[in-house]
């Protein structure tokens, strides 16, 4: 065979003419020894960092299930007759998400919480035929960035309503007009505060808009499902459900809605059906509205899903069950609020209810520095506590924060 110079397209001026300055190669046992030495420098640090990505306990069975090669290597299940296993897990994931959120239909997932929230805004615009989306600035800043990008391209107006600096809660109510397609609320909000939702849905619906709620699915172990307080579309980041933080991604976009809006849902949906012999089976359904068939007129340009992460979420929820999820949520709530009480004078909104995160005034490098996203919150940090934080850690932290 002829010798081919694969680098001929790269100009000689930018090619390295001498060998890279690297140490001599090691044998595999030597290399393992070297890596072991390096890993010994690692320290298990408690960072109390949340802000959208959370360290919750993952039962080992979850990893075992997602590591099975039938799931790990599965390709998009277009061919139902060869993909019943993966299709069934997606169907079960969707059913669990419906139960958790109080919605009637859920899709097979979106890329992450930010894209799920944005797709919900676009869906509200499609359904209402309106062009304005209202959000509170107490929604995750990254989510709002993604929303801004999409709104710009989709010719939608994004109206951001500042949160109430006295309570750390959203104050959306007086701002609805007949132009608004959807109003988006995060529950608990980015600061960990539990929003007051009692009559919000009625006011939003009276203006002819849709009510979109972005959730932390773990909080639904103790908080009301948004379907019960009038949400039309429920989205969220599902990483908390059995998935590690992975240095910030990939995430799992939860997306669920009322049945009336089924045909405007983005992404793919798995449905149950019967085969020619009358046996139960699963197929991708409503894919005629997806991009690979409907091109630029598709309901969404997300034509895929996070199947492996959805499977982990499905396994996690199955293992935890209702009682387990409730217990995790209660532990998060108790731990965060135990510390919140102890350091009350350092807490920005001590009288607002919070779930697993809250804002403190501190110079210490813990949690998330809020100044990055909110210049007015200079000197404040968002700290997070999950069921994995021990009481001794909380007491130690309380001492250090005083």
């Amino acid at each position: 065979m002829k010798n081919i110079d694969y680098f001929s397209d790269i100009p000689a001026s930018v090619r390295l003419a001498k060998p890279l300055s690297l140490p001599e190669p090691l044998s595999e046992p030597e290399l393992l020894e070297e890596l072991k030495k390096l890993s010994e420098k690692n320290q298990e640090a408690s960072l109390f960092l949340g802000g959208g990505s959370y360290k919750h306990f993952i039962p080992s069975i979850v990893r075992h299930i997602v590591s099975r090669s039938e799931f790990y290597t599965a390709y998009t299940p277009y061919q139902a007759e060869a993909s019943q296993g993966i299709l069934q897990t997606i169907y079960e994931y969707q059913s669990m998400i419906c139960e958790l959120t109080g919605m009637e239909v859920a899709n097979a997932s979106m890329y992450d919480g930010a894209t799920a929230l944005t797709e919900a805004a676009l869906m509200a615009a499609r359904i209402t035929g309106r062009k304005e989306v209202v959000v509170s600035t107490a929604i995750h800043p990254h989510y709002r960035q993604v929303l801004k990008t999409y709104c710009n391209a989709a010719d939608l107006t994004l109206t951001e309503i500042p949160f109430d600096p006295k309570t750390g809660l959203s104050s959306l109510v007086p701002r609805f007009s007949s132009l608004v397609a959807g109003v988006i609320l995060e529950q608990p909000n980015f600061f960990g505060n539990i929003e007051c939702v009692s009559d919000l849905a009625d006011k939003i619906h009276a203006a002819g808009a849709l009510f979109i709620v972005s959730v932390d699915p773990i909080s639904l172990g103790i908080l009301k499902p948004p379907g019960e307080y009038g949400a039309d579309i429920v989205v969220g980041e599902g990483q908390s459900l059995g998935n590690p933080q992975n240095f910030g991604g990939p995430g799992l976009g939860i997306f669920a809605a009322k049945k009336d809006f089924l045909r405007q849902m983005p992404g793919r949906i798995v449905g149950a059906t019967t085969d020619s012999e009358g046996k139960k089976g699963f197929v991708l359904t409503l894919s005629t509205r997806e991009q690979h068939i409907r091109r630029e007129r598709a309901t969404s340009n997300i034509c895929s899903n996070e199947a492996l992460l959805a499977l982990a979420a499905c396994a996690y929820l199955a293992v935890m069950g209702k009682t387990g999820l409730r217990k995790v949520a209660e532990l998060c709530l108790q731990k965060a609020n135990y510390l919140k009480k102890k350091i009350k004078d350092k807490v920005l909104w001590p009288d607002t209810f919070s779930f697993k995160e809250f804002v403190v005034k501190t110079e210490k490098e813990i949690g998330l520095n809020l100044e990055r996203f909110y210049p007015e919150l200079k000197g404040y940090r968002l700290i997070c506590f999950t069921e994995l934080v021990k009481k001794e850690m909380l007491d130690k932290l309380a001492d250090e924060l005083h």
């Binding site: 045909r263 005629t288 509205r289 068939i293 409907r294 007129r297």
Partner: protein, 130 residues
């Protein structure tokens, strides 16, 4: 029975319109329903909506695709075929009778001259085949 009745007007996007005074009844042609295959869902505009000729007014979904519907004439939607909500298959079974989609109050009768006759539509279909 003819596949393209003489008393209807046609569009190149495969809709038909039956003109009775100021009212146009709109549906899709035999060719359209046959190409789509089994229709499973029809999405129609609300009564009262003002349509412009050639503007998209809804979609028809079959087991293999979703296609846009385009208004043959401008005007206000005065009625929609509510039977299609439960029986979308009427579009296949009876595209010119029970499978009609909407009735429009025509606002610009001059546009009617732009529509194709049965013969012109059939010639168009033949030319598209090549």
């Amino acid at each position: 029975m003819t596949l393209y009745p003489e008393d209807l007007k046609y569009t190149k996007t495969h809709e038909w319109a039956k003109i009775e005074g100021k009212i146009a009844t709109v549906g899709i042609t035999h060719f359209a329903q046959d190409s789509l295959g089994d229709v499973v869902f029809v999405e129609l505009p609300p009564v009262g909506k003002e349509l412009k000729a050639e503007q998209e007014f809804g979609v028809v979904e079959s087991v293999k695709s979703v296609s846009s519907l385009y208004a043959p004439v401008s005007g206000k939607v005065i009625e929609r075929n509510s039977q299609l909500e439960l029986h979308p298959e009427l579009v296949n079974q009876s595209p010119y009778q029970d499978g009609w989609l909407i009735k429009v109050e025509v606002s610009n009768p001059a546009e009617l001259d732009q529509l194709l006759t049965s013969q012109a539509y059939q010639d168009f279909l033949k030319s598209e085949k090549h």
